[in-house]
Symmetry: C3
Subunit: 250 residues, 3 copies
């Protein structure tokens, strides 16, 4: 434990991803994030959640060097837990605001996509789903969340080209909702969170569910098959070789 | 009767909402609008319809003070009639152009969303679905029409934040198709209506139906449950109290 | 045969539509395009495909004067083959880039919509689905591809108004991905094709399929009925008269 810290400021909980320099995701960290969201859910005093990263990264995604030590069964179990965490945040009954204080890449980008609103820092930070550049596909949950946010055309471009986007470019595509200066992002996250947290919880939950339920159903329907496909490709010769290179040079 | 007036100018019918200062919707007015659309439908001489408001409003939505006098059963009946009117205009076989000459809010915004094209006046007029600000959710028909027009991301922002948008901001989101000066809106509505009315009725009907049928089916599938949910929240203690405040101060 | 030419440059195949001045589509040409895509598919040495037109047109769509000589059964057979070609390219396992070197209209526009990326030349070239201007509707495959690319609102505008768009306007709607100068389009097509062809074939195929399969299923589900509707309207008195005028003056 200890890869995630939580603070509560006047009814707004802040969950901070904090693991190494890049907040890379492994199984215990995914479990820990999941536990925090579960713990906060029934607490009526907490009106909303901010999800952010410690240091200069939001999250660089899966911890590839560590994951290369997982057996295929362990890796599938990890993917299932991660997919289930995404689904939980995606339908979370309270507002969740992503404060993208730095790179949000691959699995880190997916975590950001689960939130109700994304504010990203301008400058060197990049967001993207670059799985295809190291030979990995995407599981259906990621595809569904992405295309429901940015449409099929932008979604294809993001996934099939695997490019990284600045805050401004991401905003133009709808991948993030706002681009903020480094000096102003914390204030802006507060303002937006406050706007969300003012709403009555019951209509908020109902409306969010009416919009997101069809997407969430497609996420879970296609989930298991596409997780299997993802794992098969991950352990294929070609992709495994590229992942080893990440391990050595990354 | 008498809350709606209809004029026919060379095959283009104009339906004008005209009730009080803000053209607020009650049950007789919804029935009257419905009747006019039904009457015009079989008339081959009428090529299209313009829907507008009298005075300086399009429609401010439901007449809350009057609706607070309805029993819950009467309110549910009203919601069903309104939802059914929206579905009728949404799949109307002739073109329907919304001339948003002033505020189009909540139920008034939903009426605008049913049309084939929205032209909104610049300046003080605002459009939005602000139900959440007085503690009400949205029924599925409204969610489906909205997200099919502006996508899920903008749809969430509109519904979960409940903000009001100027013509220019609404156009940037896709909530309206054009923003026009007060002096030019009538002329522009004529031009666009003429473009729509030139098309052959049969392919127009078929193509409109191919695009809108899946949305209309989701509107009717989720309709009854979400209308019940809407009514339950409307009569909940918290929302009822906020509605009383609208009644007193609004 | 001979309406399509194919060249291979270092693993990138270029399929050039080449029939008369406007590359208008008839049954043998549709069969020929289909055959080329089928031939290339199993060839692992070919990483991707560019689809372009010879001369100053991409394709002006169906060869109306020739199609007016088809019996209704022959016309329905032609529509089925064209629809099936669209579905094949839409789910093609290799990247397909549309180089829109000139007008891409009606059936020519639909061919462009099947591709993974569209680069269109600036200037006089226009893209659009103008079927409604000569009294024809659209079959469901075209509607589904279009709305998945540009959303329902832009899709309705394109289909119900039947307007023609410059490269810049088409890009603003999402109908094409880039607008390029005449002098620079060939180079830009190469650059983008190279970006797509670098990706590993297996994750490319899986991700493309995850995004496009639901659209493709709707294309085939609604296909036969909407093809019948299309043919019925095509042979209706009103539309037939308009098509004769195209034959005489076009």
């Amino acid at each position: 434990m200890g890869f995630v810290s939580v603070a509560n400021d006047a009814g707004l909980a802040t969950i901070t991803l904090s693991r190494g320099r890049v907040n890379a995701l492994n199984e215990p960290m995914v479990e820990e994030i999941d536990k925090w969201f579960a713990d906060i859910e029934p607490d009526a005093a907490i009106k909303g959640v901010v999800l952010r990263g410690a240091g200069s990264f939001f999250s660089f995604g899966f911890d590839v060097p560590e994951l290369l030590g997982y057996s295929k069964d362990e890796f599938v179990r990890f993917l299932r837990k991660f997919n289930s965490l995404c689904a939980k945040i995606y339908l979370y009954p309270k507002p969740v605001i992503a404060a993208l204080n730095g790179h949000a890449v691959a699995g880190g980008c997916l975590l950001a996509l689960t939130c109700d609103y994304r504010i990203m820092v301008k400058g060197k930070a990049r967001i993207g789903l670059n799985e295809i550049t190291f030979g990995a596909p995407m599981f259906s949950g990621g595809v569904e969340m992405l295309t429901s946010l940015v449409g099929n055309r932008n979604g294809e471009r993001v996934l099939l080209l695997g490019a990284m986007y600045s805050a401004e470019k991401a905003q133009a595509m709808g991948l993030v909702d706002e681009a903020a200066d480094d000096a102003g992002i914390a204030e802006r996250v507060k303002e937006i969170s406050h706007q969300f947290c003012q709403k009555d919880p019951e209509p908020f939950r109902i409306v969010k569910r009416l919009i997101r339920k069809p997407v969430a159903e497609k996420m879970s329907q296609g989930g298991e098959n596409s997780i299997r496909d993802f794992a098969d490709i991950w352990y294929s010769e070609n992709t495994w070789r590229k992942l080893q290179e990440i391990k050595i040079h990354g």
